[in-house]
Point group: C2
Amino acid sequence: MVVDPTDNPAENSAEAQSKKAAKKQAKDAAKAAKKAEHKAAAGKQDETPEDTPDYSSGKYGQPAMIQSVEKHPERNFVPVTKLIEWIGRKEAVWVRGRVHTSRSKGKQCFLILRQHCSTVQCVIAVSDAVSKQMVKFTGNIHKESIVDLKANAISVPNKIESCTEQTLELSVLEIYVVSTAKAQLPLQIEDAARPENPDDPEGLNIRVNQDTRLDNRVLDLRTPANQAIFRLEAGVCRLFRDILTAKGFVEIHTPKIISAASEGGANVFTVSYFKDSAYLAQSPQLYKQMAIAADFDKVFTVGAVFRAEDSNTHRHLTEFVGLDLEMAFKYHYHEVVETIGATFTAMFRGLRDECAQEIAAVNQQYKVEPFQFLDPPLRLQYVDGVAMLRAAGVEMGDEDDLSTPNEKLLGRLVKTKYGTDFYILDKYPLAVRPFYTMPDPKDSRYSNSYDMFMRGEEILSGAQRIHDPEYLTERAKHHNIDISKIAAYIEAFRFGCPPHAGGGIGMERVVMLYLGLDNIRKTSMFPRDPKRVTP
Amino acid sequence: MVVDPTDNPAENSAEAQSKKAAKKQAKDAAKAAKKAEHKAAAGKQDETPEDTPDYSSGKYGQPAMIQSVEKHPERNFVPVTKLIEWIGRKEAVWVRGRVHTSRSKGKQCFLILRQHCSTVQCVIAVSDAVSKQMVKFTGNIHKESIVDLKANAISVPNKIESCTEQTLELSVLEIYVVSTAKAQLPLQIEDAARPENPDDPEGLNIRVNQDTRLDNRVLDLRTPANQAIFRLEAGVCRLFRDILTAKGFVEIHTPKIISAASEGGANVFTVSYFKDSAYLAQSPQLYKQMAIAADFDKVFTVGAVFRAEDSNTHRHLTEFVGLDLEMAFKYHYHEVVETIGATFTAMFRGLRDECAQEIAAVNQQYKVEPFQFLDPPLRLQYVDGVAMLRAAGVEMGDEDDLSTPNEKLLGRLVKTKYGTDFYILDKYPLAVRPFYTMPDPKDSRYSNSYDMFMRGEEILSGAQRIHDPEYLTERAKHHNIDISKIAAYIEAFRFGCPPHAGGGIGMERVVMLYLGLDNIRKTSMFPRDPKRVTP
């Protein structure tokens, strides 16, 4: 086996690699490549030959790096989850997977092979077909290495509790290393996958901390919970788009590089743009609204959104994925609120029905309370929400915004009273919303705006926007906004624009709150916060 | 009607608006808002009353800005394309649309109402129900204003050539202005929608130039061709995702803000990131590959990609939408090439079958040659492509890259010989590909890499990537790349990584080339190039 010369814990991080190490590495790599060239495509082993002849020679080893030489169409690859169909059949199967754990015991080696969320026990025991050398080779394969094995699926009398495939094991006939992992890993998958159980003091001690996970995300993402979280996240996006497309929405793409900071210039990242400066869009809102003014009627967009907020909380990222939508309506913005509400309900139904396996996998590691929702969703007036909070002892004025603790409290009160983890809060005070928010026609202290909540945390903010350029100007002036800086925004409404409303959803928040996770970094594959831009 | 005080062509652009104009505007806006408040919800008109009593009073006018007061559930709104079902029925219909053109002729007014790509003729003629004042009011509505009208659908004896609905007209009973457009528009929709016909000298003279279009994109996007282009573009993304999802791919999201410039630091935008600097990702490649190393097996991502190239050509943007995919394979990268090829073929079939209306609408303005493709797609070896070019008189070395003119020529030669607008060119010379490209195992002058072409222009570049960290280091050194700068990239492969290949597709290019358009700015809703970051 090619031994990695940098297999030294102090040199595990990329940053720690000195030029010298890199040079040595390259030299060894050249050697290794040369060695590989001279090796047959399969079967030669690197172990020192033992005294006894190796009658398994050619049935195991580390072939040369796969460089697309052969296609091996004769190899019948079967997913681990389908192995059950091959129990007791004469025909052998091929499986590619990772060495999850490996344990040698006398003349046999037990190896647990992992494929995504599935694991299966494999046995290599000395026999007429399997030599001592082959067993030894197998026992020395580093954890997390990728192997191809040919095996027979065999029924087992006692359930194998440590694997997802509990009724069978693989009796290995051939085994080849496709890709070797370093001997020492910065984190163990078993530790990273350990259930969070506050009653298990040992579990707490060997928990992998978040920065170690994120620094070594390629390993961390291999846990069954992470495999499931990001498959469910893909489901959220798919459902969002499919549901809206079925309702006649058109997907659009809005620029991330913009010439003027959207809302006054706070919390915006600056980009050097040739000889000039530009900004990263904090929201696609202006562009969604322009698409409405351009007759696209109902639009959505899924894309990166940037916030230069120096917030180091469990729910803030500097870059996240926005699920944004905007919709022209005939006479009342509740046409839009109902559409968004129905979209969420359909999404929750879809996740429940289509991602049950993923939810179960996450639940193995993190305690997930099933997400409850009503259909149609609950819609409360802001004043009624305030009344509920006051009845619970909170002191706040009619036109005060909800603090984060009060949002959470209201979420609990709503859950108790109505039995739902999702609700819509309508008619926010005008004073706490942006200048482009349409005031309530009946009570100027309020507005045609709304937030939506999951488990007591805001996941959508939206409103009817002012579509009349004169009135928009008036409201901007009222907010002391420099009109010249938003002239382009106002201009978009001078050529006829239908009344419209919309909202923006944080994708990572939806996944975090749907699963009841405690940190948004768990639902961003490569999270960005004020202190992290790597990997 | 509220007259816009800034209705002056010199002040049409947002940039031209002085602070003074903005001030005046706001004052007028305040007046207008006050006026709107005092107006009844419907029916009052702003025209000076004539001597004769107005027996249509209350059946037309400009109601107050729609602020979500009433819901009007009794109004039966019908899309223009469905009006045909209402011909001859007693029941009146409601239609919301834009005034495309309007022409007064004695006691009647002909108005063409537009809704997306559809147009219908509306007639308001003086009668027992329609007053002179109402006809006059209608004749004065600015083009591009949005109106609600109540009307009867009536069959016409002669085809109305100027409308998409040619067999009917609307006899208007009521008409209300929902949103007024400025009297003077920076471009006329009719001009912007005029077919490109080199034989029509008049057509060429009144063509709207590209910068005028892009400066006033909200208007320009209203042309039938643009309505169709961006609906087809949504179809490209939908098909790309649906086809890959059905093949077991998982959608991921990769960060746009990165800590190190991907390929040496050229052509990259710098972002100020709190007290530090960061970069905008030129491709999601490293992250796609990390997802593969993290066991996601087959991934795709749709998102913004940034190139700080000072290229002002018909096919370069500084920000575009990347359709990227990456896939682990068993033994040969052709498993991936076949998957990508089949994805394109399925996409072309989907566009042809599901977007026929959109293609026809674009064809009304721009001559579109139907896109031809083979199933399975044609795959040529690079050496054979070079041989075809040489046979056509091109002088080039075996290991030379294809110049843009040669790519186009080869596209024409392939089209003539094989009858396809799409093909795959496999086995590029190693020397012209990035360091992470896997060399051809049989001939080290070539590589396991490929480009794909539509109408002779490259729309995908891809390869088998080197998944062995030692060999990757060796190749990087061969390219004189500072290993310390790509340590994080190499590190991702030290924990076991399956062989994999992938590619990146430019969404706007696919749409441009599928439709045979001449400029990528036609297929980016809000294009970004070295000279344009607005609107």
